[in-house]
């Protein structure tokens, strides 16, 4: 039982990360019908932005204020990055074949990964690019007390995971509010439904798509910070696999659906943790893809997806 609960806790911790990244995938797919391959790398950049911001405020004590500042800074930075990527790499291709955009997205993903792996060009005020070897994310928050985790029914729950989980849930609720209760959200859903007609109705389609990208990228940055706080080893390639898995989570939940991405992320995180925990953990990375293949074969629309007929 203890083992089960421990896996459950670990699974939730990983699952929230997947869910936050998957939200970006699902929103972008909703408005553009594009798998933003570079999204996992935006998540990586988010963690690094947090790393640098944390390093720059090194002399400050790890306080809640600093943590909020670093997280917000990184989210804003990634929002701008997302805007740049959309503006210069995807927008010129919007009316071309979809595969063209997919290939470009792969290109952007590689560009981020490999330019971050270069040797540092400059060392002051910080070393950038970080280079291929892993770096250690600074602790943003000091929880006081003796133990960094709480024990409950013999289950170890790291406090940072608990906080991360709370922040993630809050962000998801905020997103849910934005998408379903605000004018921007309504416009976003309209663009997702039919961008051409939405444009005719006076919705500024380009601006909505840009904002969607920024929102998704900011969430990815938050996921990057939460993940790096709990598992502090970061390197330029760690976004790749997480990004792909988050995509699986988005498909599992039903791509284009906001609650689907959340549920998909949590389910995938739990599945991975349980399967890897009870069997051979060296197959961990293959689990997500197996889930993906099963979902696409059994129920391609995912848990919350709608069935749409193909128009000729």
């Amino acid at each position: 039982m203890t083992e089960f609960l421990q896996h459950f806790v670990n699974g939730l911790s990983v699952g929230t990360i997947y869910a936050l990244i998957a939200l970006g995938y699902t929103m972008v797919y909703g408005v553009l019908k594009l798998i933003n391959f570079a999204h996992g790398d935006v998540y990586m950049v988010g963690a690094f932005a947090g790393y640098y911001l944390g390093a720059m405020s090194e002399n400050g004590e790890p306080t809640l204020f600093r943590a909020v500042l670093v997280t917000l800074g990184s989210m804003i930075f990634c929002g701008l990055l997302g805007y740049t990527i959309e503006r210069f790499a995807y927008r010129p291709l919007r009316h071309r074949a979809r595969l063209t955009a997919l290939i470009t997205a792969i290109g952007v993903s590689f560009l981020l990964e490999y330019s971050f792996q270069l040797k540092p060009w400059f060392h002051h005020p910080f070393e950038f690019p970080p280079g291929p070897s892993p770096r250690f994310f600074p602790a943003l928050i000091d929880f006081g007390g003796e133990s960094p985790s709480i024990e409950f029914l013999d289950v170890t729950i790291p406090k940072i995971d608990l906080l991360g989980f709370g922040v993630a849930i809050a962000l998801m609720l905020l997103l849910q509010f934005i998408v379903y209760r605000t004018r921007f959200g309504t416009a976003m859903r309209a663009v997702s439904f039919d961008s051409q007609v939405a444009g005719l109705m006076g919705i500024p389609v380009n601006r909505i798509i840009s904002l969607t990208f920024m929102l998704g990228s900011a969430l990815a940055a938050a996921a990057g910070i939460i993940n790096a706080s709990s598992r502090p080893k970061i390197d330029p390639l760690f976004g790749l696999i997480s990004g792909l898995k988050a995509f699986v989570a988005a498909v599992l939940g039903g791509i284009g659906s906001v609650p689907g991405a959340m549920v998909g992320g949590l389910v995938l995180g739990l599945t991975e943790e349980f399967v890897a925990g009870y069997t051979d953990s060296s197959y961990r990375d293959a689990i997500a893809f197996t889930v993906l293949i099963l979902v696409l074969l059994v129920r391609p629309t995912g848990i919350f997806g709608r069935v749409t007929a193909e128009k000729v």
Binding site: G107, Q117, A286, F289
Partner: protein, 351 residues
């Protein structure tokens, strides 16, 4: 008599080519082994690019799992050559026996890779576009993950000490065979069906093309040649590890195909040669290699998404038409069967 001559003519490239390649191999191998290895890599990349073009270019199905099939082929061949490395058939002598073993290993690698292609293709080819891309990527990674966990395949360290069997003759034959296969496929009924699927899958199906069947066949053919390429490269560098077959390898091949033009065989060949040589020239800037790669891919997609040649072949280009003094007949007999008027890109976005 005429028939016999025609058969002979189609074997002419082999009859002339093999001795030439052999001579080059002997000279280059003793003069500069590094250069010989680059030449081998170049031919292997041609095999990879042309075979991936059958799926990505001819059929319009975007596969990102080529490296997985390479891995299957490489490990199959490696197991066979390692198992029979001491074998000598008295009549043939050791050297010739080993060449025969290698030939068997190459055939077996194509066979197992084809089976893998079938197993992967059957379920995933029901999907389209970007889903297919991700699923093939996933399968590629699953294949790698499985290999990494197999004791008898050496797990993460892989198999080392493979006999150095690959030479220019083997890769030359393989490259020519791949190109000829692709060309024959393109001008056949099968090829027409594949192009129909690429242009409009729904319309092709309505016209009675068994879309899933043809897609799976294209996938199997492509996988077989990927397996061949994997076997060749692993016996050139005498090593076979899972790290050689990550999905970055698949992307490299995709870049070649896209650069040359989806659907253009000569385009793939030219792109594979260009990229291989360019990467060797840039070896000093090792770290920047992949950055340049990524930038190239983005800029190419933004400026010329159809690739260098589009769906056309080298001999369709105006310069070559002039050289051959053939009048350019638009859409007529002069045009290559792979050439399709370029309206697919404009309608594709709306679909």
């Amino acid at each position: 008599m005429a028939r016999a001559l025609a058969v002979l003519r189609s074997f002419l490239p082999f009859i002339v080519g093999i001795p030439i390649l052999y001579v080059i191999q002997v000279f280059l191998g003793s003069y500069s082994p590094a250069l010989a290895l680059i030449a081998v890599t170049l031919f292997v990349n041609v095999v990879l690019a042309v075979s991936l073009n059958v799926v990505n270019g001819f059929t319009g199905q975007f596969s990102l799992g080529h490296a997985g099939f390479m891995a299957v082929g490489a490990y199959t061949a490696a197991k066979i050559t390692l198992a029979f490395s001491g074998l000598t058939i008295p009549v043939l002598g050791h050297a010739l026996t080993q060449q025969a073993v290698f030939a068997v290993a190459l055939s077996a690698s194509m066979f197992t890779a084809a089976i893998a292609g079938f197993l992967v293709g059957m379920p995933s080819l029901r999907l389209r576009g970007d889903y297919l891309a991700i699923v093939t990527l996933g399968f590629g990674e699953i294949i790698r993950s499985v290999i990494e966990n197999m004791k008898f395949l050496g797990q993460a360290t892989g198999l080392s000490g493979l006999p150095a069997r690959t030479n220019l003759v083997w890769v030359g034959i393989s490259a020519v065979a791949t190109v000829v296969m692709a060309r024959r496929l393109a001008v056949s009924t099968q090829g027409r069906a594949l192009f129909a699927i690429r242009e409009d899958e729904v319309a092709a199906e309505a016209m009675g093309v068994d879309t899933t069947g043809y897609k799976v066949r294209a996938f199997v053919i492509s996988a077989a040649y990927a397996g061949l390429a994997g076997a060749l490269i692993s016996h050139a560098i005498q090593l076979c590890t899972p790290r050689m077959f990550t999905f970055i390898r698949s992307i490299e091949v995709v870049v070649m195909v896209v650069l040359g033009g989806l659907g253009s065989i000569t385009g793939s060949v030219v792109a594979a040669c260009t990229i291989t040589i360019a990467l060797e020239a840039l070896r000093e800037f090792q770290a920047y290699r992949m950055v340049v790669y990524a930038l190239l891919l983005i800029i190419l997609m933004l400026t010329r998404p159809q690739g260098l040649f589009g769906t056309r072949e080298l001999w369709d280009l105006p310069i070559f038409r002039k050289l051959m003094r053939k009048p350019a007949v638009a859409g007529g007999e002069g045009a290559s069967p792979t050439e399709v008027r370029d309206d697919s890109t404009s309608t594709g976005g709306a679909a």
